[in-house]
């Protein structure tokens, strides 16, 4: 394990990714404690320029952009992590079982994922949210469901690859119980790529949840939220760009940071080659 994290942190991109992600996470978590004023109170002129006491100026209602920025990350952060984590474990299990079991069950699972994959991620969430309302947990759950097919397919593909390896056949021949084979033979070998997939899902989740709040389906105003801030202050883009630039930069950092870590992880994995790889010995 330490070999992996060594080669991981050796890459400059990964170090950058960790820095960016950490920055965003810290800001989101302890930001509210650092805000100079309440994010809801109107303390300045509408679209007022930056000045002393208001580093980033004022938004369209005259609220302090910096304070709103510090408060605005929470929902994106928790929802992204929640949706990705919730999709990972069930998706991996279903994928492993599908890849390891009889043809019929496998075909059924593949077909079901095809159905879900016919909907672009955002459309599915919008569809459900429009009809059933916009409770945060509902949004997270729908996003989880739209991520599931991807994880299932990945886990299934990996499992199929592993299952054809002779050591899995040997385990079956020995009569090891199914559960033992899946947990001890298959899972350790597919875990690394799945963890990389978690990172990639996180990036998508960030995109989806920030767009949702941009479109107005996330938290309701006057709560501070990065996506919402972008759409709220768009009309004043020419006069007071900071009200838009700041949240855009935060979302960008978050997405980029997680992606760099995921990329680095997949590259680190590829680099750890076996010491002897001759075809004959």
């Amino acid at each position: 394990m330490s070999r992996v994290s060594h080669s991981l942190l050796a890459q400059p991109q990964v170090r950058l990714g960790v820095t960016l992600t950490a920055l965003v996470l810290i800001l989101a978590m302890i930001g509210p404690a650092l805000a100079p004023v309440s994010p809801q109170s109107m303390v300045g002129p509408s679209y007022g320029p930056p000045g002393p006491g208001a580093m980033l100026g004022y938004d369209y209602l005259g609220r302090d952009v910096w304070s709103r920025l510090l408060h605005g990350g929470r929902s994106v952060v928790w929802m992204s992590f929640a949706a990705s984590a919730l999709a990972l474990l069930p998706g991996a299990i279903i994928g492993m079982v599908a890849g390891f079991s009889r043809r019929r069950l496998d075909h059924a699972v593949v077909w079901a994922t095809d159905v879900l994959l016919a909907f672009p991620d955002l459309i599915l969430v919008l569809l459900v949210v429009s009809m059933l309302g916009r409770q945060p947990w509902l949004i997270v759950l729908t996003a989880t469901i739209s991520f599931l097919p991807g994880v299932i397919r990945l886990a299934r593909g990996l499992t199929l690859g592993i299952s054809s390896q002779e050591y899995v056949e040997a385990a079956r021949l020995m009569g090891y119980p199914y559960r033992q084979i899946i947990v001890h033979e298959i899972l350790p070998n597919i875990a690394p790529p799945l963890l990389v997939q978690f990172g990639i899902m996180l990036t998508w989740a960030i995109a989806i949840f920030s767009v949702l709040s941009f479109l107005g389906y996330g938290v309701a105003p006057p709560t501070a939220d990065w996506g919402l801030m972008i759409s709220e202050n768009r009309t004043g883009l020419m006069i007071q760009p900071h009200a838009v630039i700041a949240p855009v930069v935060m979302i960008g950092f978050f997405a980029l940071g997680t992606n760099l870590i995921a990329e680095g992880a997949s590259r680190a994995k590829a680099r750890i080659k076996p010491r002897r790889s001759a075809a004959r010995a």
Binding site: D114, F119, F214, V248
Partner: protein
């Protein structure tokens, strides 16, 4: 001294036609089944799930009277399966009912907006696909060079950023703060064909291209790198074949399959991206129509648009699978079922999982 007999061929000729025909019909059937399930899902989400769609649509202040009228209008007082069949039947004819907001036929409304989105997508594809394809090949050939290194960093950056971040970024760059050359909002004149109003299309097109092309480029590059590392490419080099011929005649055909599958995947991204980009640039296309329909819960329009989008994805995937078979000789020509005569291949017989 003769070689191995014609036994190989005669045994396979018997199976020539049926094998891929079986596959095609199975694939079509699967596609239809998927489309069916998709329609049930759309129907379920919009008409079956909400306990009383009419109440949901009209909001909490509606009178009992208006709710009942709407219910009868939408046919909600009949049993669910009957509603579905009725709805699906009409949908196949293009009749999605009347928009609850404007009372126009929903299908017609969608068709009008569809043209604008189609124009946008065509431009995007015309730009994104060739550049990603050629770029991926070029980078694979110059792998690990400085150009490759920097471009791949750029690709990763663009791939990571959400589409609307790219869109807003472009607005900031080209419309407002830095340069002020392009309109930030694409107000298309509905009377004129979108193809004749290029200025309005540039920013949305560019945003989508920057969202999608990096993903495809990455896939092309990976597929090409793999193809260039195969035994047959090495053998061709040792025969003195020129590098250019090796890239285009030997490597590229083998990299096509992952690329075809990649383009199919892109269709999903493109449709989802369209909604976002049209919202950011206020582009009057199908994505924006969906957005407004959702705001007022205009069920027929929502149904029409989501169904069309999902059906397009299913169709594109079907076409991609067919194209894959056409492009891969191994899949479309008959082979000897089982092992390769003459070689010591290991027989892999069915035993549990594939």
């Amino acid at each position: 001294m003769s070689d191995e007999t014609e036994g190989v061929l005669s045994r396979t000729q018997r199976f020539a036609v049926p094998s891929w025909l079986y596959w095609l019909s199975a694939r079509l059937a699967a596609g239809l089944a998927t489309a069916l399930a998709v329609s049930i899902l759309v129907f379920g989400a919009t008409q079956a799930l909400p306990s009383d769609p009419a109440r949901v649509i009209l909001g909490p202040d509606a009178t009992e009277q208006s709710i009942q009228t709407l219910r009868r209008q939408l046919g909600l007082d009949r049993p669910l399966p009957e509603q579905y069949v009725h709805w699906a039947g009409r949908a196949l004819m293009g009749d999605f009912g009347r928009s609850l907001e404007s009372d126009q036929p929903a299908g017609q409304l969608v068709a009008e907006r569809f043209g604008n989105s189609a124009a946008l997508m065509i431009y995007v594809l015309l730009l994104a696909v060739p550049s990603a394809f050629l770029g991926g090949i070029a980078l694979a050939v110059r792998r690990d060079s400085l150009l490759d290194h920097w471009l791949m960093n750029l690709v990763i950056l663009l791939k990571a950023l959400p589409a609307f971040v790219i869109g807003i970024g472009l607005i900031l760059l080209l419309s407002t703060t830095v340069f002020r050359i392009l309109p930030a909002v694409s107000l298309l004149n509905p009377a004129v064909s979108p193809f004749l109003q290029p200025l309005c299309l540039i920013l949305p097109t560019l945003t989508l291209v920057l969202t999608i092309a990096p993903v495809l480029l990455r896939q092309v590059r990976t597929a090409m790198i793999e193809a260039l590392q195969t035994e047959y490419v090495a053998a061709a080099r040792l025969r003195g074949i020129s590098e250019r011929r090796i890239v285009w005649r030997h490597a590229v055909p083998n990299a096509l399959v992952p690329v075809i599958q990649g383009i199919a995947l892109m269709s999903r991204l493109l449709l989802g991206g369209a909604v976002i980009v049209e919202a950011v640039f206020s582009y009057p296309g199908i994505g924006n129509a969906l957005n407004s329909a959702i705001e007022v819960r205009d069920v027929p329009v929502i149904q029409a648009i989501t169904l069309i989008m999902a059906a397009s994805v299913v169709t594109i995937n079907l076409l991609a699978d067919i194209l894959t078979v056409l492009v891969t000789p191994k899949l479309r020509t008959p082979t000897n079922a089982g092992s390769h005569p003459g070689t010591r291949a290991q027989l892999k017989l069915k035993a549990g999982p594939t």
